[in-house]
């Protein structure tokens, strides 16, 4: 008697589990995507937009599911935040939207985005574990947000890196063999370059929070507490970074950037030896140096000085998020994202945008491009050999960035480092508490 109950119960259990597994495995499979139309809000303009539209047309023509993507310019990054916020409030949202990690955190506070983990892991429509190793690990980790239970709120189409720009000819003339790897070397090089009679100096200080992050991670630090439980800015690494530049400025070997893009001006006019900026600035620097008034010179990029074993690079860039709608449109959006991250598309996009691709194997298709663009190749090399870290993806991080710039500026003007950093840390964590979901 009991045996029969157990047998029936066992059969029932087996049947249920099979059904659940079958349903789970085929949840996406059941969707009919034919004729699905999805919209994509992006910030690209000019040449990048033209290329993107061409790629979108190609996808629409060749994809096997009958999906149509409509791309739409929606303004600059902050304009898109306005538009998206208004859209979420008014029920007028796209399917794919470009967003920085802290911006997607704000959208997710209203439960507006799709977690991409199930899509990545899916047997049929996802990305295999092998293929995932082709991606730079730091790039993929960036979109996992601890504030939302480690959901993956976006997928990276491309990335940029914060690097040290240096005037190679000038270095040689100063008798320096290679760009500085340690901060002591940096200090000495900046000192050698400074000549008040000629008006030259060593480094143009950027107050941008991304730059500060690069300084800190190069010393082995970070901005966030482990596990994403808040900000941890009162660190010896930040103190050391601030102290270093406070001294460099006081000793006269560095100057604050005089106006927007002033560091580019001084670099191209051979007034400053080092600047630090995003690799997305490479084409602009190139244009200014090659066609500048003072004549062209050899220059390149290198990792920012580091005290760790390997350089730790600050990588950033907006990801593309999928907005909650119907299962069909969500899946279609994911398939488009997956297509964009295939090496062929990545190579095409890199050529036009000068952004970094997210997959290592893209290099195979970029041989000529790397040969022609020496600085890009130098940055690529750094990417291969270094580690990557990303800034906190927390909602409200934009306000913390402003506070970091303010603290840095105050320190450069002579404020006491310990109390400034303590106040900064308190403020950042206050913002964290206030903007928690």
């Amino acid at each position: 008697m009991r045996g029969r109950v157990y047998r029936y119960f066992g059969a029932f259990l087996l049947l249920t589990m099979t059904t659940v597994v079958a349903l789970g495995a085929q949840a996406f499979d059941r969707l009919n995507l034919k004729g699905t139309v999805i919209t994509y809000w992006y910030q690209h303009t000019q040449g990048r937009e033209v290329a993107l539209k061409k790629m979108i047309d190609r996808f629409n023509a060749t994809n096997q599911w009958g999906i149509t993507v409509k791309g739409e310019y929606a303004g600059g990054y902050s304009d898109i935040v306005n538009k998206m916020t208004a859209g979420i409030a008014g029920g007028n949202t796209p399917d794919l939207v470009v967003a920085y990690q802290n911006e997607s955190a704000i959208y997710e506070q209203s439960d507006a985005l799709v977690d991409l983990n199930p899509y990545v892991a899916d047997q049929k429509f996802g990305i295999s574990k092998d293929e995932l190793t082709d991606y730079f690990p730091g790039f993929l980790a960036q979109d996992i947000n601890p504030q939302f239970g480690n959901k993956r709120l976006g997928w990276p189409p491309n990335r940029s890196i914060e690097m040290l720009y240096y005037n190679a000819d000038w270095l040689k003339a100063l008798g320096i063999a290679a760009p500085p790897k340690t901060w002591d070397e940096f200090y000495e090089d900046a000192k050698k370059a400074t000549n008040s009679a000629k008006g030259t100096y060593g480094y143009a200080i950027s107050l941008d929070a991304s730059n500060v992050f690069a300084l800190v991670i190069g010393r082995g630090g970070d901005f966030q507490s482990p596990g994403g439980s808040g900000y941890s800015l009162d660190t010896p690494q930040l103190r050391a970074s601030f102290a270093f530049f406070q001294k460099l400025l006081k000793d006269g070997y560095a100057k604050k950037i005089a106006e927007q893009y002033g560091e580019q001006t001084d670099f191209a006019n051979q007034k400053v030896l080092f600047t630090m900026s995003s690799t997305s600035g490479i084409p602009f620097y190139d244009a200014a140096v090659q066609k500048g008034a003072k004549g062209a010179f050899a220059w390149s990029v290198a990792p920012i000085p580091y005290t760790t074993a390997k350089p730790v690079l600050d990588i950033y860039g907006a990801s593309v998020s999928i907005v909650k709608s119907t299962p069909e449109r969500q899946l279609a959006s994911w398939l488009f994202l997956r297509w964009m991250s295939e090496p062929t598309q990545q190579a095409e996009w890199t050529r036009v945008s000068n952004y970094f691709p997210v997959r290592r194997s893209t290099a195979a298709q970029l041989g000529d491009y790397l040969a022609k663009n020496a600085q890009f190749a130098a940055a690529w090399k750094a990417l291969q050999m270094g580690d990557q870290k990303a800034e906190p993806p927390f909602a409200g991080y934009d306000q913390v960035r402003d506070s970091i710039s303010a603290a840095y500026n105050a320190v450069l003007d002579g404020a006491d480092i310990d109390s400034t950093i303590a106040a900064l840390n308190a403020k950042a964590n206050k913002i964290f508490r206030e903007t928690k979901p």
Binding site: S110, E259, A395, A406, A410
Partner: protein, 389 residues
């Protein structure tokens, strides 16, 4: 004799039809303003009572306001001080009895004391960023409205009358207002560059000063000029009020200069309209009586210009309190909020923090302040406006 049926009698059918006309005339504007001006206000009030994240919301009543002020006590101090000061001002008129005026002074003193203690408390237990942004807004308003009124008036006076090139000059003065702010701000950022060769620093050099940091300088102008630095750790009252003593930051003053350039022509345009409405005959009659230019200015121009002046002052203050774009284009994060007035602070809470409810509460506080200021102006200036009949 037949009575003329067209003569008006108040309270009759004609009075009624005038009222109906009145309502009908006002109706189109009222419809648009109700939907696109008032509804946002009410929606905002509604949101301010919630912990609102774009769509998800939990009702927290006055929780946001509590966070702004830091509790009942600081808010009560603030409210009491406002009431006392208002009462004091109302009673201090010249035509009152001595006793009443002494009472008024006492009220003012009490009110000022409450304020002196209330604001530092809000600073420590409420939202210090909000208070700082309020201070920035106040400096900005005080620094721009009087200057723009004064120079706008001068320019309008200079542009009055017939002379060659008048329209050309008019256009030149209006150009700064017409060009999109993103473009002109980029230019001004260069003009105020930290380089010693920039315009701002060259002008300073003429006065024998060394180059300044302009848009990056978070220290107040009074601190830079007279060394009135904010104190730290002396005591809550001193620590807080010394930040006022430092004055507006140099970066804010740079932004004010930018706004002078943009708005003086605009103020001049509006003043010109006011000047044009003054009949020539008055001046002719006065000059026949032997009056000089300056007397005519004082006795004829200024009083008859008062409707325009009144309008510009009220709208100037309202405008500077809610002004966003013309400051946002030049604000610098490295100044630590010294270039962030309340409108910018509210914007960041909305779009960078996703804290809709809190941002809504902040904007309600801003609204109350603006309404209060408008009422004050209306009381003090409104009676002196002279509508020519």
């Amino acid at each position: 004799m037949r009575r003329n049926r067209r003569i008006r009698y108040p309270g009759t059918r004609h009075g009624l039809s005038e009222a109906i006309s009145g309502y009908l005339f006002v109706l189109p504007a009222a419809l648009v303003l109700a939907v696109f001006g008032l509804f946002p206000l009410l929606y905002n009030l509604y949101i301010s009572l919630f912990n609102w994240h774009i769509k998800r919301a939990t009702f927290i009543g006055l929780g946001n306001y509590k966070e702004i002020f830091g509790g009942l006590e600081p808010f009560a101090l603030l409210a009491i001080s406002t009431i006392l000061i208002t009462a004091g001002c109302a009673l201090v008129g010249k035509k009152r009895k001595l006793l009443v005026r002494l009472l008024a002074l006492a009220l003012l003193a009490c009110g000022a004391t409450c304020l002196a203690f209330g604001l530092p408390q809000i600073n420590s237990s409420g939202d210090p960023d909000m208070l700082r942004s309020f201070r920035v807004t106040l400096w900005y308003s005080l620094g721009t409205v009087p200057v723009q009124l004064f120079f706008g008036f001068l320019v309008a006076v200079a542009l009055d009358g017939k002379f060659d090139g008048k329209q050309t000059f008019r256009v030149i003065y209006l150009l700064p207002y017409i060009v999109p702010a993103v473009a002109t701000a980029a230019v001004f950022e260069r003009l105020f560059s930290l380089r010693p060769e920039s315009w701002a620093n060259q002008i300073l050099a003429l006065f024998g000063s060394h180059p300044l940091q302009w848009l990056r300088e978070y220290k107040g102008v009074l601190e830079l000029l007279f060394g009135l630095a904010p104190t730290h750790g002396v005591g809550p009252l001193s620590d807080y009020w010394s930040t006022w003593a430092a004055g507006p930051s140099l970066s804010l003053v740079s932004i004010m200069i930018y706004n002078y350039w943009v708005f003086i022509g605009y103020y001049a345009l509006i003043f010109s309209n006011g000047l044009a409405a003054i009949p020539r005959q008055l001046y002719e009659a006065a000059s026949l009586d032997g009056a000089r230019s300056f007397t005519m200015l004082r006795r004829i121009t200024l009083p008859l210009l008062s409707p325009t002046t009144y309008f510009l002052t009220i709208l100037g203050i309202i405008g500077t309190f809610k002004s966003f774009n013309s400051i946002y284009v030049l604000r610098d994060p490295s100044t630590g909020g010294a270039t962030d007035p309340m409108s910018v602070y509210v914007f960041f809470q909305f779009f960078h923090g996703g804290r809709f409810g809190y941002a809504a509460a902040l904007s309600m506080v801003l609204l109350v302040i603006v309404v209060g200021l408008t009422l004050i102006q209306e009381r003090s200036m409104g009676k002196r406006v002279f509508y020519e009949q």
